[in-house]
Structure formats: structure tokens, C-alpha cells
Amino acid sequence: MTIFSSLSMLAATAAPKPMSPILSGPPEALLVLALPILGVILCTLCAIMRVRTRMPAFLTVGCLAAAFAITVGLYLKSGPAPVITSGFEWINLSWGDSAGENSPFHQFIANFSLYLDALTVLWMLFVTGLATLIALYASEYMSGDVGTGYCRFFAAFNLFVFSMSCLVMGDNMLMLFLGWEGVGLCSYLLIGYFYKKPSAVEAAKKAFILNRIGDLGLLMGICLTYVHFGSIEYRDIFAQAQPYIDAAKAGRYSEIPAIVQLIPVLLAVGAFGKSAQLPLYVWLPDAMEGPTPVSALIHAATMVTAGVYLVARMYPLFLLSEIALPLVGWVGALTALFAATIGMAQFDIKRIMAYSTVSQLGYMFAGLGVLTSTGAAFHVVTHAFFKALLFLSCGAIMHGFAGQLDLRKLSGLRRMKGWGIVSLGMLVGCLNLAGFPFTSGFFSKDMLIGEAFVTPGTAPIGWILLLTAGLTAYYTFRVFFRVIVGPVHYEPGDELHSAHEEHAHGDSHNEHAHGDSHNEHAHVEDDHQHHDHGHGGHFHPHAPGWAINTVLLTLSVLSLAASGLYFVPTGVHGGAVPAMVDRSSAAYQSPFAHHAIPEGAGDGGHEGPDHAAETVPSYVPTSIAMEDPHAVEHPHENAGTFLGWDPHAVLFYVSGAVGFIGIFVAYVLHYAGRTTAATARADALLPMLGPIPRWAQHKWYVDEFYNLVVRVPLLALAHTFHLIDKLLVDGLVRMFGAIPRWLGTLIRPTQSGELHGYAAGMATGIAVLLFIVFMLTLR
């Protein structure tokens, strides 16, 4: 396939050179890690002291806000070169001295140090920022659980922020792995927050285990990196990789050992696990069993982008492999499409959002695969805001309607009292997600799709992404048209999604180990603000309070404003996000982008998607875009086109149009003429599609497939092993153990008690022994 050859060529022209890091980074960066830990400790203390107020939430918000403020400070301070803040020694092995070898590689160092470059700061900004906001939101959302559960929630929440910070800020791959697994743990704890609900426990377990599969890939990648480069610290890796980067520049991939080319593939496996890509995505939709703030923060905005972060962070290594980036790109694109098809057929709005998250993560990976790390990073940021917004809005709905999330049972929220801000948030989120023109989602998505067409050989990815964009618009607005607008109708949730029920029991005193109360929804806890909203038509939804509304409003504004991060130039840096990415290890300018910019700059707000690339700052002397003679000489010759036009220029309109079409279809099918909540015009169309909608609704039976292909055989193997262990291994041991007994039984009859028998035995024994001795030795 051409993508391979072209990518190899591309990478040859476009590998970045790292800058040597400054070793004395700002010490306050450590505070970003320390503050969430402080939060954990405080929440734990609250739990021990049996605090029954919202104290933990506010402590958390305080800690995280402080962390955010420090991060902003880091951002303001950040210079062009990465800086390293040393913490303390974690794992530090050295050897060889005694053997007289002095190779510098006879050591293994993984310290608790921070590597701060722009990419780090970018990620930390939205991680801490969103975490603060979502903590505020959760202070209200989780208020039903005030008590131990509340403390537990916020402790895990803080721990998550800590882990995520480690992941992002660590100066070596093991530190990243620490965060990587740490966020996995927090995800596990928070998905399983409603630990009495078997489905939640199941989902938490699934998330952890599937992540572990990816983690193994990452771990092997780390080992391989270490074995080859003799270090797992980023700065060393990048310095060590320099010869290969040079080789890749010249297109001489044969000089790059297979080991090195394998590293990014292994890392990618890790990334696929954490970022819920094919084939390991199945855990993410189930992870929605967790409380919604968790879904918003962990499973939409931050943790799942860790995979993207990993690829971006190790981008120089990914460029060294002929297969790694195409792999990432294709997996991302296929995941995007696949998840979108499932999302179209779901009825649970939170699940729809979950699949859309998978799909959007696919976009990001596709972006990385088509060589636009900037685009991917930008999409990460915009997605973080609007997806968090969408989830939080869903959460508000869920909170208000007793866990109801079925879009067939909710309708016309806009017209209900107190639901205005939620509706607004929903609208803003949906527009962003659908890629409505001039929203931030539109710009970031457009960048990815455009770049897919620009980069030679990746056009199929572009087409897939374009198609997915249409589907995304459709299913996004399907939710909007059915839930927010239309006739007013609502039904309270059943226990399937009843977070409230669990709220009542998070701090449980066990009054309901009896199954019947599950169905009745009768929880008489006085301080609970949802008074008995269970039965028949007497259910009264309660609108969200100030905390939720504030957060929704803030996020709405932010997600709209996020587009500015790209376009509004900040000094010489260009847009904030590109400027930051450019200053990091993910820095990479497609040589084809140069040629794309000027023509595309049609509209006002669209001043220059690749402005940054055009004006590469002079203090980035090693950027290959400037240096590589090859790129300078033939800047345009390999750039792809979109049906003959310049992709960035045309796609601006095309993807806008696709988005409109999607929204329109959703309007026709799900809003126009709809009189009830349960049915819409779309239902009439379904039979025409045969079994496909049903299959899609059942997620293409992937879970069942995995179950059949992986879990069942493994379980069978486990049972077989258990049987072997009991029968064969232990049986053999017992057999050996039984030999003496058996021998004893065999010769016991000689001890008959009869004098003659004994005498005969003696005589025979003497005879036999004489015979043996004489036969064997005397011949």
C-alpha cells in the first residue's frame, strides 16, 4: 500500500530533533503532584473522622484549583526547551563497576522527576482545569452520598488527578507507566463506585483487565526501549534516537533496527488499551456505570487521552517505524467509524456519548497517524471541553430524572422549568461534537480530516473520517432532538441506571440487603434531596442546582471559546495549542502543510490553520521543517489533494456540509412531527435496514465475540489446569507418596505371624542373596 512507502518517505523528511532539556525545572511543578495527594489525605482523614458534610468536595476543589493555578504559572513560565524537575530517586540500578565495565548504559534509572515541556503543560492545563470544574460539579452531584462514600469518591478523584499528573509529567517511561496504571486504578475504583451494583463491579473489572492487556504492550515497549537505548528517560531516548532520526530523514529505514521499529508498535498497543481503540475499546462504554462526573473527567476528557499523549510524547520514535503510524492511523479511523455506527443505534444517551468518545478518540489517533500531532492535540483539548460538557449535561439529566437515560423516555427538556442551562449545555456540546461550523469541534475535526487528505497515502483514512463526521452529527443530534426539544415527557429511571438508589446506599447502613427495595425506590433518608420520587406519575424531576449549572455554563463558554486556542495568535507562538505542541517532543510539521495554508485562508476566523508551521519560531533551530534540505527543496511535490483541490480549503466546506447533512437527517427522523417521546419517524425506517440496526444496537456482538473467543477458551483452560493440577500433578505426587504404602502392602503378607513362614523367608532370602552375589561377582 502506498501509505507505507509514502510515510516512510515523509518521516524521512520530517523527523524532529529534540532540544536538550534544562535540568533545573521549576520546583513548584512538584506541587502539582503534591496537591492532589494532599487532597487524598484530607479526604481519607474526613472518612476516618466520619465527616458528613460536603467538606471533602470543597477540599478537593481547593486542592485542584491550586494545582490548576500552579499549572497556569508553569504555562506562563514555560520556555522553548523542556525542563526537568528532579523529585526523588525511585528505581536506580547500576552495575558493571565491579566487573570493571564502565559503560554508561550499565544502569537503569527511573526517578520520580518531572519532564516539563509544552506538551506536558498543555495536558496539565486541561487536566487540572477540568478536574477542578468537575469536582465542583460532583460536589453537588454526589451530595446524595455525603459521608464515607463521598469521601471515597473524592479521595479517588484526587488520586486520579495525581496519577494523571504523573502520567503526563513524568520524566521517564516508568513514571508514565506509574501514572498509566494509577489512572487505571482510579478508573477501576470510580467505575465501581456503586459497588453493590453487579454491573458496575463487572464494568470496573473489565476496564482494569482490558487496560492491563494494553499495559503489557506498553511494558514490553518500555523494556525494549530500555534494552535498545539503555535508558527510559525521555531526554536520553531522544538523544539516543538521534542517529536513527537522521537515518529516517534520509529514508534509510533499513538502517533502523527492527527492535527500534518495534518499539512504537508496542507502545501503540498500550495506547490502544488506555484510549479504548479497536480491539480493546469494549471497556469504555461499560465504564459508564460509574458516576457521571467520573465519566466526564476520566472516561471522556482526560484519562482516555493518555494514549494520545503517549503517542505524541514518543512521536520521534513513532516516526522511526514504517508501520507504527499507519497502524495508529488506521486503527483510529476504523475505531471512529465502528464506534459511530454503534452510537447511532443506542438509546441510552450516556452510552451514546461513550461511543462518541471512542469514536472521537479514534479521530485523534487517526490524526496522529496522518502526521498531524498538532491536530490531534487540538482535538484532545476541544474534545475534553465539549465531551465533558455533554457528559455533565447527561449527568444533570440523570441526576434529575432518577437515573433515566433512555432517550425514548425523555423529551422536551428545554421547556421544563430549571432545565434551561442543561439544554443550552447540551446544545453547545452537540454542536461541537457534530462539527457545526465555527465551533471548536469543527475546527479540530476539520484539521484532522484535512491533514488526512494532505498526507499522501492516507486519503482512505480521510474518507472514513469524513463519513464518520456525518454519522457523528446524526447521532449527536438524534439525542438533542429527542431529549431536549419536542413534546414534554418524562419517566423516572429504573434501577438499571439509578445512581440515586446507590446514592442512598453509598454510605449504607445495610437496611436494604433485601432485593425488593431495589424495585420500589423507596429510600427514606431524610437528608436525601430526592424525596421519594418513584411511583407512577408522581415523579417530579428536580432541576440542577448552582454548582452544576455554573459548571455547565463555564464549560459551554469554554468549549465554544476553545477554538480560539488554535486560531488566536498569542505573540509569536501562533495559536496556543500549536505553539505548545511545537515546543514539545510531539513537534512535527508535515512538509505538505506549508503549501496548504495560503490557499485555505479564505474566511476571517480561519486565519491560518497552520500559521504556526508557517512561522516556525526561530528559537526552534532544530526543527526539521526548516532544516531538512529535502523538505525545502521539494516542499510540495508529494502533498495529497482532495479530489484535486487543496484539502484544507475545500474540506472546510465539505465537512461543514457533512455535518449539516447529519443534523438534518436527525431533524427529519427524530424531531419533525414527533409527538411522543418513545417513537419517532426513524422507527419506520428501521425495518428497511433489516437486522443491521439490531446488530448495531447490540454493539455488533463484539462483547459476545470476545467472550466466545477469548474468555470462554481461557476459562476452559483454567478449568482444565485446575483439573490437571488436582488429578495429574497432585495425583503424581500422591502416587509417589503412595508407593511406600503400596510396597508395604505388597510385602506385608510375609509378616504372617507363622514361625515357618519366617523361617522359609529367611532361608529363601539367604538363598536369593547368595545366588545374586555369586552370580554377579564370582561368575
Binding site: 511406600p740 504404602r741 510396597l743 508395604g744 502392602t745 510385602i747 506385608r748 510375609t750 509378616q751 505371624g753 514361625l755 513362614g757 519366617y758 523361617a759 523367608g761 529367611m762 529363601t764 532370602g765 539367604i766 536369593v768 542373596l769 547368595l770 545374586i772 552375589v773 555369586f774 554377579l776 561377582t777 564370582l778
Partner: protein, 535 residues
């Protein structure tokens, strides 16, 4: 010859004591009768002292015409015998005449010398010990034969009279008849040995072997002698009687049977094998091949048969009997290994001598426990000594002294470090490895593991089980001395282990093998047999 009498003072002392005891036991006065045991003890003490002081060692023996191949063996063996006999004595207290004495004490009868066995019992015991001492002293096949017979004959009777029960008589008859068969076998072996060499003097036989080689007839004689002696040490194929006899005899007598004939057998075996020496054979460092093969097979079979049969038993006494067979197998490993280079770690003979002491002490403890506690007979008859494993249940709680003695002794018998048994087994290990008998060492190791199974039961029953029903709960035997014997042996198991070095040094000297006594007697430099080198 008369000069040798000077070295027989322990035997003479014992004989004198025997005469006194024989008379004392028949006295009409109870204190006098009771004193017979004490007199016995005094005699044994005297013998022990005389053994230590008068028995010459080294070159003096040779000068006086005793056997010269193992010059250090007799003194050590005699001390060891007297010591263990001293331990045995309190255990044997009250074995006979208990009902009779009870009848007299309650006034139901008067003392009747014809019905009293006490005098014979103690004097037979002393006779047997005397015989054993004489075995250690032997330098002549005739002497050896007589000493062996003197050792065994009294034990036949002791078994038969050790209990009123039929079992004792059955044990006696089996022991006697099979013993006679065994004696005939080694006697025939002695005859062939005489025929082959023309002399019955061990030194002369040795010289004959050195000068004229070992003829086939001599080999046949040696083999038959060894096989006959296997009866004494309860080794395959002469082991059949062991369990029945030990079980039928009272526990004290069984303990004696496990020590006295075994020691006699091993000492005799060592003396006879010393004539051929451990320097022939294919590797020039072992017994002649037929003998090595014979002993190898016997050792391996003995260990295995003893252990696998012991595993099956439900009677603790029978188990101990079979374990006694197995221990003979272990010791045979040392016999096969031979003197090595004379150092303790390589000298199988020292190892055997040391093990005999260790085995004597720890085995005695186990039997002492069986003897010191009794359970009431179900039919209301005389209380019986403990026999089955079930009888031992919870002994540590009902009878702490006996229980813990059993625990310690069975652990020591198992070879659990750091108890005496372990340090007995270790030199066997090292000497056999030193002699290159590694397969045999593995057999020994595996057998130790098999043995662990029943010793563990022997340990667990008193320590860990609930005491059995109150109705048949074991009661203390009136003879405190038996418990004392157990205690002695339990203490010995620990104390001797801690201070084992002295004993080891002594047994090293005892196991010294002089391959060419004629040069030694000439006062020339002693030539130690060729040591096996580390290949």
C-alpha cells in the same frame, strides 16, 4: 592369654554383680529384693567405670594379643554399652513379678522363690550385657560365637517372661527358634572361615587374607557369617521376627532387644569385616565386591522394608520395631563405607558406633514412654502397656513428661536437626558420600523421608491429638523409674547433640582401622589404609 583377663574387669564386675543379684532377688525381704535393681545399677556403674579406666586402647591391646584391626573399638563400645545399659535398667524395673509382688504386698500371699522371676530377670539382663561386652572384646571366632550366644540366650528367656500374656510366650518362641536358625547360619559361616584360613584368631585370619588373598570359601564363610549376624541386627532377610517379638515383649525388654542384639551384631560384623578390610574391591577402596554388593543390597532392602512396613502399622510398638529394622539399614551404610581416611566425617565405622549410641538413647526413650504409661484393660484385668497409636493420643496433656519424651525421641529418630538423630545420620551421609556410595545415600535420604511419615504420627499423636475417652484413659505406671528413663533419654537426645563433639572425637578414635596390625605391633609406623581420594 591370662594377661587378657586384666582387660576383662568390666565383665568380671558384671558377672560378680550377676551372682549377687541372683541371690538377692530370691530374698524373703522385700527391701532386699528391691535392692537387686540397685545392685544391678551399681554393677553397671562399676563396669562403666572399669571400662573407662582399665580397658586398654591402641597398641597395648595388640601387645596383649587382642584383635588389632580395630584397636579403639572395644573401649568405646564397652563404655557405650554400659551407658545405655544404665539407661535401660530403670526402664526394666517392674517388668516381672508385678502381680506376685502385689499379692504379697496386699497380704494375699507369701513370697515363694519358685514363683519369683526377679532374680533371673535381672541376672539375665546382666548376662546379656556381659555377653555384649565380650563381643566387643572378641579376638577369636570361638570367643565371638560364645559371646554372641551369651548375649542372645538370656534375651530369649527375658522375652518369654517379660509379660504374663500369651503374646510374650509367642514372641519368646519365635525369637528363640529363629534365633537358633540364625546362629546356625553364622556358625556355619565361622566354620567355613576357619576352613578357609585354618585359624579362628581374627588377627591371624586377617594376616592370612593379606598374605594369601581371599579365597572363595572364605568369601562364602564371610557371607554366611554376615547373613547370620543379620538376624542380630534385624536386617533383611533375617528381619521377620522383629516386629512380632518387639510387640510381644514388654516395652522395656523390647527397648533392650532394639539395642543389645543390634549392638552385638554390628560389633561382630565390624570385627569380621575388619579381617578382610575395606581396601580391596574394584575401587581399591571398599570391601571385596561380593561383600559390598551383599551389604549394599541388604542395606537398601533393610531400610526400605523396615520403613514401608512401619508406615502401615497401627501399633506404635510394631512401628518402632520396623523402624528398628530401618535403622539397621542406615547403619549398614556406614559399615559399607568403612573407615575411609580415618576422619570422623569419612569413617563409616565411627559413624556406626556413634549411631549405635544415638539410636540406643533415643529409641529407649520411645519405648520408655510406652512402658511408663498404662491403660486399664477393657476386661478389668491387669493394666497394659501402651501399644497402639491411639493409646498415645493427647499424652502431652495427660502425661506431659511422657508425652514430650515421645515427641522429642520420635523427632530425633526421624533425624530432625538439631537433635541427636540428625547428628547420627549426618556422618553416615558424609562417610557414604566419601566412599562414593552416592546411590545408597539417596536411598538413605528417601527412606528418611518415608520414615518421616510414621515418626510424624508418633510425634503428633501425643502432641496434637485430643486425649481419648476417659474410660480407657491411660494411667501412670507405678514405676517412676520408667518415666525417669524416658526423661534421661529425652535429655540425652538434646544434651548429647549439644556436646556431641566429645563423643564424636571418641568414636573417631574407636573407629580407627589398622590395616596391617603386624607392623603396628612391631611398633612401626601405623599405616592407615588407603584413603579414598576425592576422585
Amino acid at each position: 592369654m591370662i594377661g587378657r583377663l586384666a582387660y576383662l574387669w568390666p565383665e568380671i564386675a558384671l558377672f560378680a554383680t550377676t551372682c549377687i543379684v541372683m541371690v538377692l532377688g530370691l530374698s524373703r525381704s522385700l527391701p532386699m529384693r528391691k535392692a537387686s535393681a540397685w545392685v544391678c545399677g551399681i554393677g553397671l556403674l562399676a563396669a562403666l567405670g572399669l571400662s573407662i579406666t582399665t580397658t586398654p586402647s591402641g597398641s597395648t591391646v595388640i601387645a596383649s594379643g587382642g584383635q588389632a584391626m580395630l584397636p579403639g573399638m572395644a573401649p568405646f563400645a564397652k563404655c557405650l554399652i554400659c551407658l545405655v545399659a544404665l539407661f535401660l535398667l530403670p526402664l526394666l524395673a517392674g517388668t516381672v513379678d508385678r502381680a506376685e509382688e502385689h499379692r504379697i504386698a496386699t497380704g494375699a500371699g507369701v513370697f515363694n522363690p519358685l514363683r519369683s522371676n526377679r532374680a533371673e530377670f535381672y541376672s539375665f539382663f546382666l548376662f546379656s550385657i556381659t555377653g555384649l561386652l565380650l563381643v566387643a572384646d572378641a579376638d577369636n571366632l570361638i570367643w565371638l560365637f560364645l559371646a554372641l550366644e551369651l548375649t542372645s540366650l538370656p534375651t530369649y528367656i527375658m522375652v518369654a517372661i517379660s509379660s504374663e500374656r500369651h503374646r510374650a510366650q509367642e514372641a519368646g518362641v519365635k525369637y528363640f527358634f529363629l534365633g537358633a536358625l540364625g546362629a546356625a547360619v553364622f556358625l556355619y559361616g565361622f566354620a567355613l572361615l576357619y576352613g578357609a584360613t585354618g585359624t579362628t584368631n581374627l588377627n591371624a585370619i586377617h594376616e592370612s587374607f593379606l598374605s594369601r588373598g581371599i579365597s572363595t570359601m572364605a568369601i562364602a564363610g564371610l557371607i554366611l557369617s554376615l547373613l547370620g549376624l543379620c538376624f542380630k541386627i534385624a536386617a533383611v532377610p533375617m528381619h521377620f521376627y522383629t516386629a512380632d517379638v518387639y510387640q510381644g515383649a514388654s516395652a522395656g525388654v523390647a527397648a533392650m532387644l532394639a539395642f543389645v542384639p543390634k549392638t552385638a551384631g554390628f560389633l561382630a560384623m565390624l570385627l569380621i569385616l575388619a579381617t578382610v578390610g575395606w581396601s580391596s574391591g574394584p575401587g581399591a577402596a571398599s570391601l571385596p565386591e561380593p561383600l559390598r554388593l551383599l551389604l549394599w543390597v541388604i542395606a537398601a532392602l533393610t531400610m526400605t522394608v523396615g520403613n514401608v512396613l512401619a508406615v502401615l502399622q497401627s501399633s506404635a510398638k510394631r512401628t518402632l520395631a520396623y523402624s528398628s529394622i530401618a535403622h539397621s539399614g542406615y547403619m549398614l551404610v556406614g559399615v559399607i563405607a568403612g573407615p575411609g581416611d580415618g576422619s570422623f566425617t569419612r569413617n563409616g565405622i565411627s559413624a556406626v558406633l556413634f549411631y549405635l549410641l544415638g539410636y540406643g538413647v533415643m529409641n529407649l526413650g520411645a519405648f520408655a514412654v510406652l512402658a511408663s504409661v498404662e491403660k486399664p484393660a477393657s476386661d478389668g484385668g491387669e493394666p497394659r502397656e501402651l501399644d497402639s497409636f491411639d493409646d498415645l493420643r493427647g499424652l502431652c496433656r495427660t502425661h506431659p513428661v511422657s508425652g514430650w519424651t515421645m515427641v522429642l525421641c520420635s523427632l530425633s529418630l526421624l533425624g530432625m536437626p538439631p537433635l541427636l538423630g540428625f547428628f547420627g545420620k549426618l556422618p553416615l551421609f558424609t562417610s557414604a558420600i566419601g566412599a562414593g556410595e552416592i546411590p545408597l545415600v539417596l536411598v538413605l535420604g528417601i527412606n528418611s523421608a518415608i520414615a518421616a511419615f510414621y515418626y510424624l504420627r508418633l510425634m503428633a499423636m501425643p502432641l496434637l491429638e485430643e486425649p481419648s475417652f476417659r474410660a480407657t484413659a491411660p494411667v501412670d505406671n507405678p514405676f517412676v523409674s520408667r518415666r525417669f528413663a524416658g526423661l534421661l533419654s529425652a535429655g540425652g537426645v538434646i544434651v548429647l547433640a549439644v556436646f556431641a563433639n566429645l563423643l564424636m572425637k571418641e568414636s573417631t578414635a574407636a573407629g580407627r582401622y589398622v590395616a596391617r596390625p603386624e607392623t603396628a605391633s612391631a611398633g612401626a609406623k601405623t599405616e592407615v589404609s588407603v584413603a579414598q581420594d576425592g576422585r
